[in-house]
Symmetry: C2
Subunit: 893 residues, 2 copies
């Protein structure tokens, strides 16, 4: 864009559309700049001018008085419009009518919006009749103008006009507004004006210039109305921008069958298909298309109705798209065979359309590949990878919980895992519904379509396991009462029994009664193309969080360059293993523990064989056991109640004794704040034999594959390190285990040892920790929890909502990384860690790895990779590419 | 100290005692430097020399070969000793015998220690007989030497010699070693040597020079033995210091009644009284004094036995004390009327003695007041302020828990608070014993002498409340099984019933059967004196943590300069208030909550009236409500069990319904990690009416007192801030409440608003937070919890023990502030906070405020004050003074 060619003086406040251009948004607002740009491009735009934002600011600063000279300038520019339109403002023969619209730099609800047909009065209405030959139309326009002006300029409520209108309709014995005759409408105008005089004590202004002046003042004033202020606060829009006002000659699409109005997109906004897409009505006004009283025609039909106008429109649409280099959403009016463009803007589009349009535009040479990459919102890709509820479907939403794992799932309600498994094996679709899930429910979750719980947060067992499985889950749906005994749920007075069908929307948290049409995901060629371009641009690696060979394979398919986090605890929760690990926990001696661990070893080795194979040639970061051991045992409250009841009833002494033993162990492992208790490397230092078994399994699996000739790169990650001595002690012990396994196998494996940085103290002492770690993986979930002092389970859905509603926090820090606090710790750790060990590998393995804003931050602070769940890998790839482009732009500035 | 006057060449490796001095610890080790210093001071020290640490390092570097020239130098210096002693090494008439002792720079267990009588062989033993006229003595010395040498130099186990000795005693039919005759001992020496030849294949070395060489080599080698290496690792002593070896002529105190041996202190090490204090035995060796076979005489008696020697000793003792400027602990031997000083060192002393000695020495002009302040270990003051268990008492310790609140308490076991209160009112001493205490127990705790719990950590309810009350508490005594139904405890098979007497040592965590004599605390004039000196020196303010007027008054008596932390939650836990706050929590609407809060307001106002009065003229920092609300309700597990049992038995439907309502609330407030949940300012933002009532109470109380003409300085502290917006929102609201109260009262109060810095994010964003806070108080307890990711309740007594045992952590970070991690965050917050607001007030209100090392850190990083429990105020005052002196020393360097 270039600067406007017309000389601009410091005091100029009113710009003809032909004097501005698209770059002048600060001065002319978004709409004004757009109209100027179209006018400059030679498109048929009804003539008009824009009053600059500077005038608004002077007005507000000057106690709401129009700045000196403005009125004169307006009147003078109005002359230009009259010339261009061939009509005269206030003329009784050939009157010029105008629209008045606000237009700030950023589109903003809450501002005064539009007044149409300004300039009408008892004299000019006659001219309008003369122009249109339609008295009814003219008076209908007149009564609408009076109501609209009185409402937005005089602040008189619209419903007052509606009551009068109803009286008139009643008097005339008609039902529809359209049935009122011209004479009645003329009476109505009189009645409206009388009411204004009676109620407000003022004569409705007849002078068009005064009408215009009052309208401009109303627009300026509306900058300060409370809704607008709130909106700006919310959107962080500065309050000193001010708004512009656009005055434009009216054109009419309802002047006969050579007139009309319509809307169109240059491409299909749902699919992205390259074809003009829109509809129109002949002899109609803009609002008729929207109102749906008559059925609009598809745009192609215009070629038959008005072939010349159609050809003209097609050419304009193409020009606009090339000019703006994006799909355009256009409004047009045809007045007596003349085409007028009223608006064009970039069109909103669905996620699949966004991808297709971006790739097509690039292939057509209209935009570059980098621009194509920037055109797609990474977060929207989620829609392309999971089945989605058909956006057109009507939904009976019965409750809303946390959107714990995205996608849609439909099935019958089932209340226990065994039943879910049984029905699942029969090929039935089921939704496993529990108060909370626990490791005992895994087999049911595997066979269920989706998981629904009434308790627990985004990191509850149900949520974590479901996300890992890529299965939809709605968690912590607290309005739902789950009655496991009666096998039913009740919610807001409605009951649903086992066998009833529900649908979960794991992307929104909605629980929907009945089944709902869904759309299957589809990886289109355009999707693959844009990913190829993104990969060529991005600097940041993208790995995945995956705990199974299936997840690993899927993520690799989605472009993952390795595993950044393989959580070993989920492996222990499988049904054939859980009893063994429970026995291990109950063991009284190290010897006993080792015996049970020896039984787990083959399982773990098998896990790693599968995962290493799926990720052959790529690094696999395995996190050693992290959660507190009590997570593998029954819940303290449930078990305590069971024991108390057994005691009180005396019904089963043998069972009581057994449960009491278990309860004692659960008690002894119980923690006040398990998040900050005996877990991670603290567990590894307390029971070294557990880590030892795990490292043995990792290395044995790696050795076997190396012997087969495969390439494996295990990265063994020690979690929850806060002091270098923890890492040093654990690592020294495990190094010897690794060496022993390799010596026995006679094989060398290229493994590394590293650590999670998820404790603030680890970040603060990163220089020392880096001496013992070959890589850092930022566990941003826990790092966020501890840096903020938030327990995610307790914060989300509780005080965090209050914080987000009250704007105490701009974003949920568990979704979008807090750059100011958590990010500062990360930057310290990166700088000091790399100083101590220049080849230190750095990544993120928290859920932020799949959040576009956080991926951008990861790029800027120089991480080597992010790691996220398989379905978020494409999101991260795209976001990383956008960040890389952004950095280039920054650099080029 | 000056450098040695004898010229030292680079290669000199052996120093006569007369060639060194006390400053040469690097070269001569601690013992060698001490002997040299005494020798230079002209004291009668048996002659000898020291082989330098440099020789040891050469030896170790050179594959354990003595460095070239060393042997020649030793032999040459030996000649000097022979001259001084008037004896000859290896002479059969008048043999010189020597002791060989290791002596590193720092005293170090695990090193080879001592060989006595080196130089004995079959020829020189005859000379010894000639010298002493005592054949039995000579052979006894000989057989001991052979055994000792074989053990420490040849590595042959001592018990082998003991078996042979036992055989001989059996053969001779005697019971005691002392009953063996000279002839038998002569045989024993032969048998020992034969055993060495048989078992080790070597002849016992007869040549005294070879004996000496081998002994020196053994000392050098022992630098590398595993115990010594472990000790150095532990104490962070560098491994490259090496050890020196001291060779000294033997003297004998058992050469008749003009000989003797003894130990003495220059002052009484128990009381500090200025009087020579010690004991001796005539015709005895050093070990006889210790062995207790004969009863030693008090030193004063020596004035009768050997008046000249006594006069000489008194003079030497006085000289030594003046020379070393501290109480001396001396060993001496008298050989045939000649006094020899064998050792002098600063004497160990009790805490009361340390205070008295320091003050006396300063008053005597021997040390300065600053030095006096440095001479007392601040932590030891704890002993002076609480009743202590008489260290001489024999204790029947039945269990050990956490030392949750210091001091000793004796009383009868009582298992519920009502009974404790009843008996307490009758004037009986009781120990309230519970699994855990809860707010319902407060009235019992108030009347109890001490509190004992089987569960809970250092921050459990029992611990926190007891510390606040200055009442001894042993918490989390897990080996104790408390049976509330039978009203008894069992521990390791022993039973104690209600009414049985126990004693708690809250300083060690010991639970002791029966009553135990205790010593009452006494604030001596010397104590008050040293505090005055400390206060004149220190820069750091010392405030107290106090929640009641009584605590405030006591702390002020101990020198507190205001309150740094007044916790308002403890006020809610009093019996007449708890039901009201419980109702407030159960309320469904804000209106209902406000009604209950209105009932609490007068109580809170009363609290603050008392506290402000007690602290008149000094600042009082009041923390707004901090803990999660569920802490005021019954425990989830207990209540769940109650409901489950009521349900199962169907016994009381009315009670069941009532309890179910309560349980629902407890459930809804239950948190997975309450430490990181809805508490602090999060609570204030969720239920603003609570903070509002508190600020109203604070300001109303302050206004009343100002009207009385008193000076009050309330500092209102908003807890748990992690983001500046939290502080800004809470403060804005509360400012308006404060203004309203003051306007109504027509009074101005000099109040401030500030915040705790206890969330890592707050420290990381301190610059922004300081814009809204007039003071920062570092809540180092929580800051430590979150920086380390440790839940204190879960860590202490669990994995933290493992960490301390394994030296993964040098100190418990909840006792001694972690300077590297937590301290780094604090320094960031201080620097950036002060930059944003130069007059920002900064303090610590965690328990670290009473830990001397942490107080030193607080001084160095420039805090304005520390705040600690009342009983720790003197400790903090002293530690702050020491830190100030330390800083001056650093600066003067």
């Amino acid at each position: 864009m270039t600067m406007p060619t017309t000389p601009v003086t410091a005091t100029k406040q009113v710009y003809l559309f032909s004097e501005g251009d698209g770059s002048m948004r600060d001065l002319l607002g978004g709409k004004g700049a757009g109209l100027a740009e179209m006018t400059r491009a030679g498109l048929p735009v009804p003539p008009g001018f824009t009053i600059a934002t500077t005038a608004c600011n002077l007005f507000l600063a000057n106690d709401e008085a129009l700045p000196p000279g403005l009125e004169a300038e307006m009147v003078s520019q109005l002359k230009e419009i009259e010339t261009l339109a061939g009509k005269r403002f206030g003329d009784s023969q050939n009157p010029l009518l105008v629209s008045v619209r606000s237009g700030a730099k950023f589109s903003m609800p809450g501002m005064m919006d539009t007044i149409l047909n300004l300039g009408l009065n008892d004299r000019t209405v006659e001219g309008l009749i003369a122009q249109t030959g339609n008295e009814r139309f003219a008076y209908d326009a007149y009564r609408r103008f009076v109501a609209m002006f009185s409402n937005v300029v005089l602040g008189y409520k619209l419903h007052n006009f509606e009551s009068v209108l109803e009286q008139f309709k009643h008097r005339e014995g008609v039902k529809e507004d359209t049935d009122l005759q011209a004479e009645t409408l003329k009476d109505l105008v009189r009645a409206y004006k009388a009411m204004i005089l009676r109620e407000l004590g003022i004569d409705f202004p007849e002078d068009p210039v005064i009408q215009l002046k009052m309208a401009v003042e109303a627009v300026f004033s509306s900058w300060k109305n409370p809704r607008a202020v709130t909106y700006r606060n919310h959107q962080k829009i500065p309050h000193d921008l001010g708004t512009a006002v656009n005055i434009q000659a009216m054109v009419f699409g309802n002047m006969g069958n050579d007139s009309g109005t319509g809307v169109a997109f240059t491409r299909n906004p749902s699919t992205g298909e390259k074809a003009l897409y829109g509809e129109y009505l002949l002899n109609a006004q803009g609002e008729d298309v929207v109102a749906g009283i008559r059925t609009p025609q598809p745009l192609s039909k215009l070629a038959e109705d008005l072939p010349e106008v159609y050809r003209q429109f097609v050419a304009i649409a193409e020009r606009l798209e090339r000019h703006y280099r994006d799909i355009q959403d256009m409004e047009f009016t045809i007045e007596r065979g003349t085409l007028y463009m009223l608006q064009t803007r970039s069109g909103k589009r669905t996620a699949p359309a966004a991808v297709k349009i971006a790739v097509d535009l690039a292939n057509e040479g209209i935009i570059t590949q980098s621009e194509a990459v920037l055109r797609v919102d990474p977060a929207s890709l989620d829609q392309l990878l999971h089945p989605q509820i058909d956006p057109k479907a009507k939904l009976d939403v019965i409750a809303r919980g946390l959107p714990a794992s995205p996608g849609a799932a439909t099935g019958t309600l089932v209340f226990d895992a065994d039943e879910a498994e049984r029905l699942g094996r029969e090929g039935k679709n089921v939704i496993l519904t529990r108060v909370e899930t626990c490791p005992d429910d895994i087999h049911g979750m595997i066979m269920a379509q989706g998981v629904l719980t009434s308790r627990g947060g985004m990191t509850s067992h149900a949520a974590v396991v479901a996300r890992g499985m890529g299965k939809p889950c709605v968690a912590g749906c607290e309005s739902l009462h789950v009655d496991l005994e009666r096998r039913q749920i009740s919610v807001n007075g409605r009951m649903f029994d086992e066998g009833d069908v529900v649908t979960l929307n794991g992307s929104t948290g909605d629980v929907i009664a009945g089944s709902v049409p869904t759309l299957a995901p589809e990886l289109t060629p355009e999707f693959r193309q844009i990913m190829v371009w993104a990969d060529a641009i991005r600097k940041l690696g993208v790995r995945t969080n995956a705990d199974t060979p299936e997840d690993a394979a899927r993520a690799r398919d989605f472009g993952a360059q390795g595993i950044g986090l393989c959580r070993t605890e989920h492996m222990f929760m499988q049904p054939e293993r859980l009893p063994v690990i429970q026995k291990m926990i109950m063991a009284e001696t190290e010897r006993e523990r080792r015996e049970h661990l020896a039984r787990l070893l083959p399982f773990q080795r098998e896990d790693f064989l599968g995962i290493f194979r799926a990720m052959e040639g790529l690094p696999v970061t395995v996190r050693l056991l992290d959660p507190p051991l009590h997570e593998f045992l029954p819940n303290l409250v449930d078990l305590s109640c069971e024991v108390a009841v057994l005691k009180a009833t005396g019904s089963n002494p043998t069972l009581l004794r057994e449960k009491e033993v278990l309860l004692r162990k659960v008690h002894s492992l119980h923690e006040a704040n398990p998040m900050m208790g005996l877990r991670g490397c603290r567990l590894g230092l307390t029971y070294p034999e557990i880590n030892e078994m795990q490292v043995r399994a990792i290395l044995e699996a790696a050795c076997l594959l190396v012997q087969e000739g495969l390439q494996v790169f295990p990265e063994i990650m020690i979690p929850l390190v806060g002091h270098v001595n923890e890492l040093a002690a654990v690592k020294t012990h495990l190094e010897s285990v690794a060496q022993e396994v390799m010596e026995k196998a006679g094989v060398k494996v290229a493994y590394r040892f590293g650590t999670m940085i998820e404790i603030p103290r680890a970040a603060l002492t990163a220089a020392k920790i880096a001496e013992h770690a070959e890589f850092f993986s930022f566990g941003t979930n826990d790092l966020t929890q501890m840096t903020f002092g938030y327990s995610r389970d307790d914060a989300e859905g509780r005080f965090l909502n209050t914080y987000l509603d009250r704007k105490i926090l701009a974003d949920n820090p568990f979704e979008t990384l807090d750059q100011e606090g958590v990010g500062r710790l990360m930057e310290m750790a990166i700088n000091e860690g790399r100083k101590a060990r220049p080849d230190l590998k750095l990544g993120i393995c928290g859920e932020h790895g799949g959040d576009p804003a956080s991926v951008g931050f990861a790029h800027r602070i120089g991480l080597d990779y992010v790691s996220c769940s398989p379905f978020r890998v494409p999101i991260a790839r795209l976001a990383a590419a956008q960040a890389a482009i952004g950095s280039t732009l920054d650099r080029d500035k």
